[in-house]
């Protein structure tokens, strides 16, 4: 079996999220170095605050300021920080119950080592130098001795701000190494030799291209390789009038379904070498390969007479 094909695949997206009134107040507060919780009907204070009581599902919105100091309720030592985490030096993940709160907030604790951390440890917020209204405005927590001077007391802030944050942008990136599997790898390997190879279903005898290793009609594995084309017939098409970003093709151009000779499924490709408004169903085409290309760049007319509709109507 040939070597398994692999390629890096990066999925990256800046998620733009709007905030409700409670989340807006909390994150705006972080920007202003104010920590806010929300009161539940039974008098508990939730930090971080939510819009609905997790017990009663009642809508809640009474904001109350809590202290930037608190107590670790549980922790875990992270000796090998990962991308995106709050600190790039070893740190403890902590749940911290801030003074005045009844629930705990997840964040990082900057400490000398695991021996310096325990549940019950007193900690305080270390603010980020640049703050925008996000959970990362808390750079991390740090151990705090009540003999220290610099822990600010709550000022009784009511959670109303002149310039509230109404949304966040949360960038997310995940890295993968994509492998296409046996059937598609074989197809891609053949394409590198300018051959188009599909697979035949052992049950219904249809030839699928590109093959995915299964017959969707019979639900059985396919494995018999069948070379198809190189010529084929346009079964249907559309004219693309809007240029896609980063696409180096002049519009308008034709994008078509092409039934390669010997295949029982049409694949798709671009039609070139003919004015866009002369492409038609039944047009006979052949692939055009460019130097070093791993797949046909486009398909062009062969000059043969058009195929009879009856020969490709099942492949539309």
């Amino acid at each position: 079996m040939p070597e398994v094909l692999k390629a890096p695949l990066v999925v990256e997206f800046p998620f733009t999220r709007s905030l409700g009134p409670v989340q807006s107040a909390f994150l705006t507060g972080l920007r202003e170095r104010v920590l806010l919780g929300v009161k539940t009907g039974d008098g508990r204070t939730l930090v971080p605050p939510v819009e609905y009581d997790p017990v009663t599902a009642e809508e809640i919105h009474d904001l109350v300021e809590v202290a930037p100091t608190g107590t670790v309720t549980t922790w875990a030592w992270n000796h090998a920080p990962r991308r995106g985490q709050p600190l790039d030096t070893p740190f403890a993940w902590v749940l911290v119950r801030l003074d005045g709160a009844d629930t705990a907030l997840l964040h990082a604790l900057d400490a000398a080592g695991p021996d310096a951390v325990h549940s019950g440890l007193r900690v305080r917020v270390r603010w980020a130098a640049q703050r925008s209204g996000a959970i990362t405005d808390i750079a991390c927590f740090e151990p705090y001795d009540s003999g220290d001077d610099a822990a600010a007391e709550p000022t009784g802030h009511d959670g109303r701000f002149a310039d509230p944050v109404t949304g966040i942008v949360a960038p997310a990136r995940l890295d993968y190494v994509y492998s296409p599997g046996r059937a598609q790898s074989a197809h891609l390997d053949a394409l590198a030799e300018q051959r188009t190879v599909g697979e035949r279903c052992p049950s219904c005898r249809k030839v699928y291209v590109p093959p995915r290793g299964a017959c969707p009609t019979c639900g059985v594995a396919t494995s018999e390789a069948v070379e198809v084309g190189p010529r084929g017939t346009v079964t249907t098409y559309c004219i693309v009038n809007i240029k896609a970003k980063n696409l180096d093709i002049e519009v308008p151009y034709v994008y078509a379904h092409i039934a390669l000779d010997g295949a029982d499924l049409a694949l798709h490709g671009r039609i070139g070498g003919i004015p866009y408004d002369q492409v038609r169903m039944g047009l006979r085409v052949e692939p055009v390969w460019t130097d070093g290309g791993r797949h046909p760049d486009h398909y062009r007319p062969t000059g043969e007479p058009d195929a009879d509709y009856e020969t490709y109507k099942e492949l539309l």
Partner: protein
């Protein structure tokens, strides 16, 4: 409940660290044919099909549609998908059979963790406002729970190592397992959890066939009747919950009827050793119950299939006559956030 519904067949892949040479559908097809063969059915005979998987493992949108080629979806079939563990797909199929709309169902689930980093991938299921921007990985969150358990006196590191050792020893008789036998407890991944406390990262798939009433009796010598099944969720904010307990699991078990009589077997989806301690307490399991005879998720943890495998393993013990009344549990989300409990019984012998 007006209709009796049973698991009549169960199959799974060998679970492996990587399966580069197989696409998802290529990995799945042998398992689908295995369970259909056990039940003596063809793809076209199935009344309802439901699957569980997630795009975040594949890194592709609508990735489950590619796997549909494996079930013969032409001519059109009655089909559904949950972006969750296959245990929840089974729940949907069970309700479908309860309505009488179908007599048989094929439920499958698969996950390939090898293309990405599952610790990072799972951060994307967290609260996107307060938690996900900090990228706390799945081991870190489980470690917070483990420390809470240790602080509460419910476990210590040797006890957790004991769970790991027992699980991998049990897996020695499970030919599908990825990790079995004697496995070093290893170094800390995120303290207090060591490599031995964590599940292996791997690829795999599983499938079951459900059938109702007399149909089940015809397809299987000893059907595993689903006497009850229920799933519950807890507050998403970790700091609101008592991480040493799992009230959602207990409530689901109560609604499924688990506490009415003792069970002899429990297949628990506890990816981390500490979570087995939490679940045993929540479910009031004592030493008379055989817990995770398959080795559980510490032996093989194909994400999205591992919960369905717990139901399948419990059912297979009933099929083989090794159990009469078994509990199966599935979980999803950080620190046992969502929990499903199924109660399976064999006919009296």
């Amino acid at each position: 409940m007006t209709r009796e519904i049973a698991v009549v067949a169960f199959g799974q892949t060998d679970h492996r660290r990587t399966s580069d040479e197989l696409s998802e559908v290529e990995m799945l097809i042998p398992v689908l044919h295995d369970v259909l063969g056990q039940a003596g059915l063809k793809t076209g005979d199935i009344g309802f099909t439901c699957s569980g998987s997630t795009d975040y493992l594949a890194g592709r949108a609508f990735s489950f549609t590619m796997a549909l080629d494996g079930v013969g979806a032409w001519p059109p079939i009655s089909e559904s998908h949950v972006e969750m563990d296959g245990a929840w797909a089974l729940y949907e199929a069970w309700t479908k059979l309860l309505t009488g709309d179908a007599d048989t169902a094929l439920v499958y689930a698969y996950g390939k963790s090898s293309p990405g980093s599952v610790r990072d991938v799972l951060t994307r299921q967290l609260d996107p406002y307060y938690v996900a921007p900090l990228w706390p990985d799945s081991v870190a969150l489980a470690a917070l729970q483990a420390q809470a358990l240790i602080d509460a006196g419910h476990a210590d590191e040797p006890a957790l190592a004991g769970v790991a050792a027992r699980s991998r020893a049990s897996a020695a008789t499970n030919s599908h397992a990825q990790l079995s036998g004697s496995v070093p407890q290893g170094d800390y991944v995120v303290r207090p959890l060591r490599t031995g406390d964590c599940p292996p990262v791997g690829d795999g798939a599983a499938a079951v066939v459900l059938a109702a009433g007399d149909r089940a009796r015809r397809l299987c010598a000893r059907p595993a009747w689903i006497r009850g099944i229920d799933h519950r969720i807890e507050a998403h904010a970790l700091g609101v919950r008592d991480l040493t307990d799992s009230p959602s699991t207990r409530l689901a078990a109560e609604k499924a009827g688990v506490f009415e009589r003792p069970v002899d077997t429990a297949e628990l989806y506890a990816p981390f050793t500490s979570q087995e301690v939490v679940l045993r307490r929540a479910l009031r399991l004592d030493d008379r119950v055989t817990v995770n005879p398959s080795g559980g998720a510490l032996a093989a943890n194909p994400i999205m299939a591992a919960g369905l495998i717990r139901i399948g393993e419990a059912a297979a013990r009933i099929h083989r006559g090794e159990s009469d009344r078994a509990l199966a549990h599935a979980t999803s989300g950080p620190c046992l956030q969502q929990n499903l409990v199924a109660l399976l019984e064999g006919d009296p012998r």
